[in-house]
Assembly symmetry: C2
Homo-oligomer: 642 residues x 2
């Protein structure tokens, strides 16, 4: 049976289409291009895709997330309902909320600026940045030229004249080496006749060293011009995309920003995204969601804020987990989740940005940080580089708190890594009051034990809007310290800040518009449990004690810092002296930044990826037991944390 | 003043737009996307852009091509008229006739097949094709592989597994040489996970050798597949575009075709095209006219006729004159016509087809035959190669009869070249009864001296539609032999086949719908005069007598042959024994074909371009005198031809 379904999006468009009897309303909405959030990717497990049938008949098997009153009113889960007649369906504005979640905001510039500064220092110390005077660490340089003017006696073509001039210049620079091959991009060729005649055949070239040893003229400017040559670093997280635009020669940061990953409407975690990619058109939908909805707007924003034309971006370095790199390039990722868990690629080879739909300089390179395996991606290779743990004699633990949690343990001799599924809680996902670490996010809090009144620290000092990762860790630590929640995360005190809904679900009121529910706390406890049990299982497998860890580096976009005491109190991090803990921010982005400005750093990151040994936690029989024990506050074995 | 102009295209669309007082109706039509032929590019010299003003007021200064009656009726030259009020303008269907002129037809397959066969023989003899067993002259090969299956113990990524397999195979083939760099195209990477799992990790790769010495996997197919690997050769003439699709390994021709150059509506010759390119938006208009209106439809037609998907075309080789290569790549050509006549490029370097807007395999290379200078282009380098005159001990003269006429004279020791502006007469342009050498074209004729009745030979043996180059040479030779026209090309006999219009312009009636006018004859005489005077001036400059020419190779799309006797009789070609003349067809296309299938041939063509010495005819004071003397039938010095 074919029914006509008219979607009416609240405060927005109407769209009618024909729908067959076995098609869910969620699938139909996708076809019509109507955005409905479905973090569980339509599996009926998140309850987010609520729509209201205001005309016609549509029953649904799954009524779990709809109260009987609401069901009677016409509310349905779009993923669990089919049209049984022609329908009129109201899509509430909140169903497309991901659109707000992908809004671009600036990074915490103060903190990040210092990180980029520190990283440039490290690169210099390692000989990767400006260490040898005259070397071009980025492989891209400005070459000023004064060519002989064309005449009837010397009617050489403009291109051949330019290449002759460059060859002479390169020869004079190193007379011993044979002349390298030099080519001209079509982009520069199109500008060439104009530029040469603008200043009597003098000009400035942007020259890139190629992996083959030759050179490519990327761009050309009039003599005396000092164009900014820029590059971009992008971290594609499952939940968040962050970028930084920099001067590719000096590393100077020109603009930073981050936004949500536009794929979140197809699933909150990588497994649901992979499932979506196996559906008809799914792979291309996901590719577009990350490229067109997230990266391109972010790049445009950065370029316009810095006043740099897109054509002057000559390189993009991307770090991301393995699923994200597959989806970004439009490569089928399903084998990542099927035994033997083999990605289509670790390294992506030589790519142009334009191949992935990024229209910058037409010859701009696309560098991808190489993956270690299906569940330890290029974000970790880049992160380990920027943490610098691979240079240390002493043992370090690196923890990336993302939607997936990844751990790396080792020193300058060996590095072991493993992954666990933490869920998006640390990035504010799957938490009703969660949000990214941006203006309005509560990043720290104190609760008065007697009155249960909270004191909040808000990013940007404005009105609190939600809780970012660090705020969440603090909040739950404080609720537990004050005895407001018990070891299982249930609310056990009463008072004006404690409420319960008709089904008995408790919540703690933070502000008039902000509260944290027992469901949120439960999601968070599973996330922290996954991290702690992974740490313990890995160290046990390697026969190391917790005390062997000299330094713990915590990475991820959780906020401006982490309350280590609180995190230990709730059993998320091992009990070690506080000074051993270092919160080092979005190391994936910082590693991508290093790749963009330094060819040496890019090579080193590739070596790190090759040198990391992957441990499969699920191969260790005790991991599940460890996880269950860690899903308490702080742990079934409380002695570990006191 | 702004007026509203409504264009009504006969039997087609209507379009209204606002037009300012100083804008010509031709420019307004261009903006509205309405096709109006203007071979003189709107200079008021061709009289082709006739439109009829049926409402409102529009006077025009230039009334030369409009009779007083027609003018009173509202007929105007669009290029010479401006809106003086709101207008309604009728655009006759014939104004967009270029659309028919760019229709794609098959090449004369019989003849061309033999040429391609001969060329393959020559390439084999020269060691450029299949000479050494196992070598890949095209640089593209099929490599079958059986990879180890992925397992939990060997979870290498698909891409890395494939590259490992290729490296092993290449090493086993030449154990001495160091392992070359191998990369995978994104196109192949996207297919890889599917293909590998389709036949237990066995597959067939399309491997291209790169100029850097490494390899790129262009494509991947299931094990046992024997995909056709194809390439395209394209000749972009000022008037005509021709193409051939071939098996890139064997050279086997899969489809051929030709069509008009879509740029003809912006001017019949290169100078008018260059002028158009200097107008706002002109360069992009011309680029699109050749790419979107001519090459892309031709490529689609060839691909669909041969049943080859566009993605299986891995290389395109293009030969064209210097203006055409500039316009095809979107490079500003104005310096070609300004002293010191310097092109933006002789060679185009390494390009991808997609950079020029041709969407074939995303990594398909675009090879351009290199130019000698502004007026001797890559079509001549390619043509000299396929004529093989560069291998001969004896002296040869190579003549390319195109819109521009180019000559090459020399042997295996030296090659001199010059160019003259012949106009498009030999390709049927600028001739009221002219057409390309395709079905319906009169390619030869006899006239009975007594009755003046013609006997026609028509390509395809159907109804005569027009005259192609060889038919025109024959026709004018016969009219002259029969005393119907005199030495100045004027009709001097009377009879039922002779007509005169109200202005006294005579014409000879060929069939009921076909006649040749004194204007046509005049255009043709100037074309043949340009060729002959160029031959004479060049040989005089080099101090060679005409008799020194052992062989004359005539190239160009004039038809299936040339009546040498007739061409000598009218003073177009020097008086030499008929057996010294060889009509060798579209040598530009044949040279491009050789480039596409053989890297050795491509290198040799580049050497030829570098070895050709250019003579500037206009630097020789006697050239103008020679030209004027040659603008008679046969010549002011008739003794040269008897």
């Amino acid at each position: 049976m074919i029914s006509k379904v008219l979607f009416k999006v609240e405060d927005s468009v109407e769209m009618e289409l024909e729908v067959s009897a076995n098609e869910s309303l969620l699938d139909a909405a996708k076809k019509a291009g109507i955005a409905i959030d479905a973090p569980c990717s339509g599996n009926g497990t998140c309850g987010k895709c609520r729509v209201k049938v205001i005309g016609g008949k549509a029953e649904s098997g799954n009524q779990r997330f709809i109260s009987p009153d609401d069901y009677a009113d016409g509310w349905r889960l779009a993923c669990a309902s089919q049209a049984e007649s022609d329908l009129t369906v109201l899509v509430p504005a909140s169903a497309g909320a991901y659109k707000n979640r992908i809004k671009i905001t600036e990074l915490q510039t103060g903190r990040d600026k210092a990180v980029f500064e520190r990283l440039r220092g490290e690169l210099r110390d390692m000989g990767y940045l400006g260490s040898v005077p005259g070397t071009q660490d980025s492989g891209i340089e400005l070459l000023p030229l004064a060519l002989e003017q064309a005449s009837l006696d010397d009617p050489l073509g403009d291109r051949e004249r330019l290449l002759r001039g460059i060859a002479e210049k390169l020869r004079s620079r190193s007379p011993e080496t044979p002349a390298p091959a030099v080519d001209l991009s079509l982009y520069a060729l199109r500008k060439l006749p104009w530029i040469l005649r603008e200043s009597s055949f003098a000009c400035t070239c942007v020259l890139r060293e190629e992996s083959s040893g030759g050179y490519l003229v990327l761009d050309i400017f009039p003599a005396g011009a000092a164009p900014l040559m820029t590059g971009l670093a992008i971290d594609i997280g499952t939940t968040t995309v962050a970028g930084v635009l920099m001067n590719i020669q000096t590393g100077e940061v020109l603009a930073t920003g981050s936004g949500g990953n536009g794929q979140i409407r197809y699933g909150a975690d990588v497994i649901n995204r992979i499932i979506e990619s196996t559906r008809p058109g799914g792979l291309e939908r996901l590719r577009k969601a990350i490229s067109e909805d997230s990266i391109i707007p972010l790049v445009r924003e950065l370029s316009s804020r810095a006043g740099i034309p897109l054509e002057q971006i000559y390189r993009v370095a991307v770090a991301a987990n393995t699923t994200m790199t597959h989806l970004f390039l439009g490569v089928y990722p399903d084998n990542l989740r099927l035994e033997p868990y083999v990605p289509a690629f670790f390294q992506a080879g030589q790519l142009r940005c334009v191949d992935s739909g990024l229209e910058l300089h037409p010859n701009a390179e696309l560098l991808l940080s190489p993956a270690v395996g299906s569940y330890v991606g290029g974000d970790i290779s880049a992160g380990v580089f920027s943490s610098m743990i691979f240079k240390k004699r002493t043992y370090s633990l690196f923890i990336d708190l993302g939607t997936n949690g990844e751990l790396v343990f080792g020193n300058d001799e060996f590095l072991m890594t493993c992954a666990c599924s933490a869920g998006p809680a640390f990035e504010g996902g799957d938490i009703s009051c969660g949000m990214r670490a941006t203006d309005g996010a509560v990043e720290a809090c104190r609760i008065d034990e007697a009155t249960m009144e909270p004191t909040l620290t808000v990013i940007g000092n404005g009105k609190p809007v939600g809780l970012c990762g660090s705020g969440l860790i603090d909040m739950i630590g404080e609720l537990f310290r004050c005895g407001i929640i018990n070891a299982r995360g249930k609310l056990v005190r009463e008072g004006k800040r404690i409420r319960r809904d008709e089904y008995g679900m408790g919540s703690y009121t933070i502000t008039q518009n902000l509260s944290i529910t027992e469901g949120d706390i439960d999601n968070f406890i599973r996330a922290k449990g996954a991290i702690f049990s992974a740490i313990r299982t890995m160290l046990t497998m390697l026969d190391f004690s917790m005390e062997a860890i000299e330094d713990v580096y915590i990475a991820g976009g959780i906020g401006s810092g982490i309350n280590v005491e609180g995190a230990i109190r709730i059993g998320m991090l091992p009990k070690l002296p506080a000074e051993r803990y270092h919160y080092i921010g979005n190391t994936s982005l910082y590693g991508a930044y290093a790749m963009a400005i330094s060819c040496g750093a890019a090579r080193r990151i590739a070596e790190i990826a090759q040198g990391l040994t992957y441990l499969e936690l699920s191969a260790h029989s005790s991991y599940m037991d460890e996880f269950i024990a860690a899903c308490f506050l702080p742990h079934t074995n409380g002695a570990l944390f006191t």
